[in-house]
Amino acid sequence: MAAAPSSMHPAVAQSASAETFIELRGIHKHFGNQEVLCGIDLKLYHGETLCVIGPSGEGKTVMIKHIIGLIQPDEGDIFVAGMHVNRLHEREMAPIRQKVSMLFQGAALFDRMTVEENVAFPLLESGVCDRNEIKQRVLEALTAVDLDDHLDKYPTSLSGGMRKRAGIARAIVARSECILYDEPNSGLDPIGSDIIDQMILRMQRRYGVTSIIVTHDMRSVFKIANRVAMLYRGKIHFLGTPAELEASPDPIVQDFINGHSNITG
């Protein structure tokens, strides 16, 4: 189970020459009087797959939203592909958003558009005009998530898992260099979950995509991750390979991966 998913990944992650694609330096963020992130430092290398785990409500979503400039930090710096994200104005973020795409936790599909129109949207907006090319790439993305039978449905008539998969198709269709997935497996059955894991692996092998995956599914962590980060109490509590995670003596890590609660009656 702890076997590395592919021979190339650890090399990519650990080789000294691997270039940093994303870097978070001392990120602090609070909402009201709640400290959500208290000093996050994290580096992500080109072509790497990082899984982010941690209890619900610990700020995993908040953290990845910082990377794409949806949330500005109170303190700290964010660099993506050499660009200083938190120094940019909304209209200057276009280059970053061309390189990085995101799956939202709630999928965030456009209600007024069909599944097909939703998935075609990033292509149209990035200036792809050829109708056939759009059609073909949309179909390809929807096939990758096993949703190619539901092109003409509106998001409100899809199940939670289908909506999630349509959101994934929209995130991968433009073939960005980096994709942030916020809980891609939640709401999916084990088979559907495996389809997504395989798709993420394929994206990495075929296109060298850098990914961050927020997930609660430990099985898929061991399948796809090059490295794992555990967020706990606003800090990166653990950072290492899946094998290191499994072998970690830290009780908090062990409780989390084995699903033990500390509440005693």
Binding site: K65, I68, G69, L70, E90, R91, M93, A94, R97, Q98, S101, M102, F104, G106, A108, L109, F110, D111, F121, P122, E125, S126
Partner: protein
């Protein structure tokens, strides 16, 4: 002690809220200006909004105009007859409809119908992260959501006001000639003599300004929606209330301004 201090700071805090609000509206207007100048106008979305806003609001605006014209005529006719001025009713109704009642009532109806829809639509998109999804795909929400609505409103409102005025006049004419047996030529002659293009222009200019204000206020409420469905509902209500009040207040000052530009009764 604490309460008296609270009472003293209340006006200050309200004023501060007001300033913050104005600041946010100004920021949105600036962003809108940048969007206009960027030149990417998404004409397909504008067309769709014109259908929804302009085409879809006609019934509301026509009924409003017609019945206002009718009741205004009905009431003034009786009074004017006491002085033997009943033939001038057409002129009075026409000027009132063009300069005030047409644009204000059409504006209020559109604020209710269109402003609410804008705040609810955009607000729903905001709380379900669809607005953030736009941003992630490199599309500025103001470019995609506000600009098309703004352009559609600027195009639709003057026509809606003109329509409201026209149906008000038709209704007024029908009340006098069928309800009161006034020779229709009298009514028409007086009305045409005392109404000119300036009066109609004032109505349409007002409609244009009201349209911009309604869009700005309602889209702002939508974009700042928070707290799920409850927040969207509250924002929608606020959009209609604020738009309506602002419209009435701005109308007063606009009347003063426009009366300098187009003095009443000048031909």
């Amino acid at each position: 002690m604490a309460t008296s201090a609270g009472l003293l700071t209340l006006p200050g805090r309200t004023f501060l809220h007001f300033l913050t609000y104005l600041g946010q509206l100004t920021a949105l207007a600036t962003e809108l200006l940048i969007a206009v100048r960027s030149g990417v106008w998404r004409l397909k979305l504008v067309a769709r909004q014109i259908v929804e806003i302009g085409y879809g609001s006609q019934a509301v605006v026509i009924v409003t105009g017609a019945f206002t014209g009718a009741v205004f005529t009905f009431q003034s006719y009786a009074k004017f007859k006491e002085f033997g001025f009943e033939t001038t009713v057409g002129a009075v109704v026409s000027v009132a409809l063009c300069r005030e009642l047409g644009p204000v009532l059409a504006g209020l109806m559109v604020a209710g119908r269109v402003g609410a829809a804008m705040a609810a639509d955009i607000g729903t998109m905001k709380v379900t992260e669809q607005v953030d999804a736009l941003r992630v795909m490199g599309v500025h929400p103001v470019d995609y959501l506000v600009l098309p609505r703004f352009l559609a409103m600027m195009i639709s409102m003057p026509f809606l006001v003109a329509e409201s005025i026209s149906f008000g006049l038709i209704a007024s004419y029908m009340v006098t000639s069928f309800g009161y047996d006034m020779p229709s030529s009298w009514y028409l002659t007086h009305m045409i003599d005392h109404t000119n293009m300036e009066d109609l222009s004032i109505g349409m200019i007002k409609g244009f300004v009201f349209g911009m204000l309604i869009t700005l206020i309602s889209c702002h409420q939508g974009l700042s929606a928070e707290n799920g469905a409850v927040g969207v509902g509250a924002g929608t209500t606020r959009a209609v209330v604020i738009s309506s009040l602002v419209l009435l207040i701005v109308n007063f000052f606009l009347s003063i301004l426009l009366n300098y530009a187009f003095p009443i009764g000048s031909v």
